[in-house]
């Protein structure tokens, strides 16, 4: 097999300067050697991950690792093209790695079936670039904070570029993050606000939409009637039960429109996904990886959003690095609060506030612990604070440190009274 023949097109581009390359870029075999020896980590082997693995292998990378904890489901087959009907139930990372290795000769793909949190800094330190195709904000925030924590100013090798892609229906985005140097996932958190949750009192007492009836069946009726079974959104019998409970409640309130499909969508928080959008976003991220690894063209600085509902629309811009970013900045982030809100309500609201999105926060000021979930004695000791108003616990403008079991770092906020 002739490398020159096989990689003809790629090598040509790597062997000639272009008008947008840096003046000191050296085309030719050194660049090609750098490309082929760069070790890349892919996080996620789903809709984006399958595409990313294919793209990296056909961009000349030879040493690729992939992490994914999931197994293959039938609903993946409309886009995750490395999987077949017979693969349902097998781990995504292993099947994807084996497929691409078999198809593209000379590439080594090492799968890891598990969580990114199972791996430590030593593991992440071995890679040159990390590329994410995830559907979870939480996992993105974790890897972002980890990579930022790893940066040692004395050691340029400790700075691992993070390329992140995400899609929803016909929309998506690709972004390049240079930990500590450019805007990070956490700086941009409020650009990806969670959908507001329906208030519990609506679900419990005044449903108006079919979704409210489904939430009731899922959150309240299940707890009431089947609390000994752990609800599993992949168990068709469980979904079916919730569907029928929701349907009955909807009839009682004369609400139309509860369907099985909607029930699944609500309880699993399903995001529509298609092959074409994944292809666009995955290839956009891998194109940036190729440019960063070789210097053959300038890389994205630092965000490209894409929307395909009406023609082909992209918007490329530089998201700002925030000095008060809780992860890469050194100032506490300002948060406007109502001083008459209780600590309990405040804690509850952090799950939904776009700039926080913390589901199980504990918090303290410099002097005292406001609320601590663990250990149980401390929880019991701080629980009475939940009923107190914020103005009784903190000064206007005081800084608090918030921790959450999903993250290894503390988030600092400065509470400013409205």
């Amino acid at each position: 097999m002739s490398q020159q023949g096989r990689w003809k097109h790629l090598y040509k581009v790597m062997s000639k300067p272009g008008p947008y390359c840096d003046d000191d870029w050296v085309p030719g075999s050194d660049t090609i050697d750098t490309l082929e020896s760069s070790k890349i980590l892919v996080i996620g082997a789903g809709g984006l991950g399958c595409e990313i693995l294919k793209n990296l292998a056909l961009s000349g990378f030879k040493d690729i690792h992939v992490i994914d904890m999931d197994t293959i489901d039938i609903s993946n087959l409309n886009r995750q093209f490395l999987f077949r009907q017979a693969d349902i139930g097998k781990p995504k990372a292993e099947v994807a790695a084996a497929f691409v290795e078999k198809r593209v000769k000379g590439v080594k793909i090492t799968p890891f079936v598990g969580k990114i949190q199972d791996k430590d800094e030593d593991y992440y330190m071995q890679f040159k670039i990390i590329i994410c195709g995830l559907d979870s904000i939480e996992a993105r925030r974790w890897i972002n904070a980890t990579l930022i924590g790893m940066v040692d100013p004395e050691n340029p090798e400790s700075l691992k570029p993070l390329i992140d892609g995400g899609t929803e229906g016909f929309k998506g985005q690709a972004r390049v993050i240079l930990p500590t140097l450019s805007s990070c996932i956490e700086c941009q958190l409020d650009m990806h606000a969670p959908r507001p949750a329906v208030p519990l009192c609506t679900i419990a007492t005044i449903p108006r939409q079919p979704q409210h009836c489904i939430e009731w069946a899922h959150q309240i009726a299940w707890q009431d009637k089947r609390k000994d079974d752990t609800f599993d959104s992949d168990d068709m019998e469980h979904i079916s039960w919730v569907y029928h409970a929701a349907l009955e409640r909807a009839q009682q309130f004369h609400i139309h429109g509860v369907t099985f499909q909607m029930t699944q969508g609500v309880v699993k928080n399903i995001i529509p996904a298609i092959a074409s959008t994944n292809a666009v976003i995955a290839a956009s991220t891998t194109s940036e990886v190729l440019k960063i690894a070789t210097g053959c063209n300038p890389y994205l600085e630092n965000y490209m959003m894409y929307a395909g509902e009406e023609g082909v629309y992209t918007y490329t811009f530089e998201a700002e690095k925030k000095p008060d970013c809780p992860v890469c900045g050194n100032l506490a982030r300002k948060m406007d609060v109502d001083p008459d809100m209780t600590l309990g309500d405040f804690i509850e609201s952090l799950g939904e506030r776009a700039e926080a999105q913390l589901k199980k926060p504990s918090m303290r000021t410099e002097e005292k612990t406001l609320y601590q979930r663990f250990p149980p004695q401390l929880e019991e000791h701080t629980r009475p604070n939940l009923r107190l108003k914020l103005r009784e616990l903190v000064e206007n403008g005081e800084e608090i440190a918030v921790s959450d079991p999903a993250y290894t770092i503390d988030f600092r906020y400065r509470l400013v009274f409205k």
Partner: protein, 561 residues
């Protein structure tokens, strides 16, 4: 009771499960349209020059991948090339064993593996041979052509497709650049454009029909209500109520200017109760937030007005497509009532269940009556047009009425080219773009030069087989020729910066010597498939008509050329 729910699985079919994530975007009707479609990919048409077997065609195969996965009915690959070593470094749908075999056959085989529901066909021939069979092209609902391809094949293919009303996508992916153009019918109507739900609310607060107006007065005296009731009046009824009060003190006129609307907003806000335990009322907060968005008289969007004024809408014939018959009936409705049929959907809002459902029913039944009125106009039109039995399905009329405010007609254009017989509109649009700073139109021009270079190589025949796609003289002469075409009849020659931008685009393009980079082809295959899906499902809004992606600078632009 809930315990007695049947444990039996009444879930979706395995097909619905497989396609679940896309059915949430285009529903069963869109899926059916895809399954009824066969797509033709013309993936190469002869060598690009010395030592070349032709376009590697990765972008075309990647586009098909994204159509096979969601389950189009079938595809046909036309590609006379045989698989070479360099194909294996860039095309994922070929394997070691494919070397030396027909590329059409091998890519077809490996694409079919992706979805057993999809039929795949292949021809290891030139497209011109196949076009001799008049039945060949009509089997397809869409054609994707991978460029560069020579002028004569491209011309006969796009013209035949245009006569048959088959949309065409002409695609280039070269190095870090890609461009593609979509050729559609002269009128390509879309009903289900899927606008942002935020923009589609039509609540008719300034011109409520009697049942809605009655609902607002039926609530009675707000001030006499207890806190619970007061805090659960749906905001739509609050706004209607306060609008009446406002009108009484403003000579019968609703707030119209921005200043008046903000005054009205404060007036609504001032009526909220703050002495309750919550210190405010959610329904009033919703009402306040909705003032600027919803207190506006109905106005017809200009795109809809244009459709009503089109000849096809005004002059129906027995051959008129359903779209025009329904559009004409809706135009009659608009002329009678000054509004479009009510879409009938109601946003969620703070309210008691029964009050919300009652209000929702007022909107729904008005929408139903509007559909009935439009339907009866359509039945009259059908009989005037000589149709004995109703032709247009009620479901189709309903969907149209619901989307009436956002229907769209794209005026399709031929695949744009820069040549001596170019359309003047195309040349003008390109010249306008050249004046924009950082425009990517220079990339489109560079691919046009590539097309011309390849056309010369291919039409020069065997004796010139030594010519290379990287031949300096060919590039220089065609660049100058195309620049001359662009500045023809212009008072001033092309500006130095413009020439510089074009020279840069050509330099970047030539790095690849006509070859593809997998990433750029995969990305472009995604964009092209996206357009194909929109055209085939007739949902969402397709490209009109040319897109350029610049992978060197990670951005794209759209032009109507």
């Amino acid at each position: 009771m809930t315990e007695s729910f049947p444990a039996a699985l009444t879930g979706p079919t395995s097909k619905e499960r497989k396609y679940d994530r896309q059915l949430r975007l285009w529903a069963a009707t869109g899926q059916q349209a895809l399954e009824d479609s066969r797509v033709l990919l013309v993936n190469s048409d002869g060598p690009l020059g010395a030592n070349s077997t032709g376009v590697s065609g990765v972008v075309g195969v990647e586009a098909l991948k994204n159509l096979v996965l969601p389950g189009i009915g079938g595809f046909t690959i036309v590609d006379p090339a045989t698989v070479t070593e360099s194909d294996l470094g860039v095309n994922f749908f070929l394997e070691e064993e494919s070397l030396g075999k027909s590329r059409a056959e091998e890519t077809c085989r490996l694409l079919r593996e992706l979805n057993p529901d999809v039929q795949g066909y292949y021809y290891s021939k030139h497209i011109t041979e196949l076009l001799h069979d008049p039945d060949f092209l009509p089997r397809h609902k869409l054609v994707i052509i991978t460029g560069p391809t020579n002028r004569s094949s491209l011309g006969s293919l796009t013209q035949q497709a245009q006569r048959l009303g088959i949309p065409v996508l002409y695609v280039h992916s070269v190095g870090f650049y890609s461009t593609f153009s979509l050729q559609l019918d002269a009128e390509f109507p879309i009903v289900e454009t899927h606008p942002d739900p935020e923009t589609t609310q039509d609540l008719r607060l300034l011109n409520p029909w009697p049942e809605l107006a009655d609902a607002a007065t039926a609530f009675g005296d707000l001030t006499a209500m207890d806190d619970h009731k007061h805090g659960h009046v749906p905001y739509i009824l609050l706004l209607l109520h306060f609008l009446e009060q406002w009108k009484q003190s403003h000579g019968g006129n609703p707030p119209s200017s921005y200043k008046e609307k903000t005054e009205f907003r404060e007036f609504v806000r001032s009526n909220a109760r703050t002495d309750n335990p919550e210190g405010g009322e959610e329904n009033f907060d919703e009402a306040v937030a909705a003032v600027l968005k919803t207190i506006s008289p109905f106005s017809l969007r200009s795109s809809t007005r244009e459709i009503f004024e089109m000849e096809q809408c005004k002059q129906l014939t027995p051959q008129s497509a359903d779209f025009w018959v329904i559009a004409s009936a809706i135009n009659t409705f608009y002329n009678t009532h000054g509004v479009l049929p009510l879409p009938g959907s109601l946003p969620d809002m703070k309210a008691q269940s029964a009050d919300y459902v009652a209000l929702q029913n007022i909107y729904k039944s008005k929408a139903r009556r509007d559909v009935e009125e439009v339907t009866s106009t359509i039945r009259q039109l059908e009989s005037q047009l000589g149709q004995a039995t109703p032709q247009i399905l009620e479901r189709e009329i309903e969907v149209f009425c619901k989307n009436a405010a956002h229907i769209k007609v794209i005026h399709g254009r031929a695949v744009p080219q820069i040549s001596s017989d170019s359309d003047l509109t195309t040349l003008k649009a390109i010249r306008n773009q050249l004046n924009m700073e950082d425009s990517l139109i220079s990339v489109f021009i560079a691919t046009q030069v590539l097309d011309a270079v390849v056309d010369e190589i291919q039409s020069s025949g065997q004796q010139e087989a030594q010519l290379s796609v990287d031949d300096e003289a060919l590039w220089t002469s065609h660049t100058e020729r195309i620049l001359a075409l662009l500045s023809r009849d212009q008072p001033v020659p092309l500006d130095v910066d413009v020439r510089g931008a074009i020279a840069n685009a050509i330099m970047e393009l030539r790095r690849a010597e006509g070859g593809e980079l997998h990433n750029i082809s995969s990305l472009t295959g995604g964009l092209v498939a996206q357009e194909a899906l929109k055209v085939l499902t007739r949902q969402y809004v397709p490209l009109d008509n040319t897109c350029v992606f610049d992978g060197a600078r990670s951005r794209s632009e759209m032009y109507r050329l």
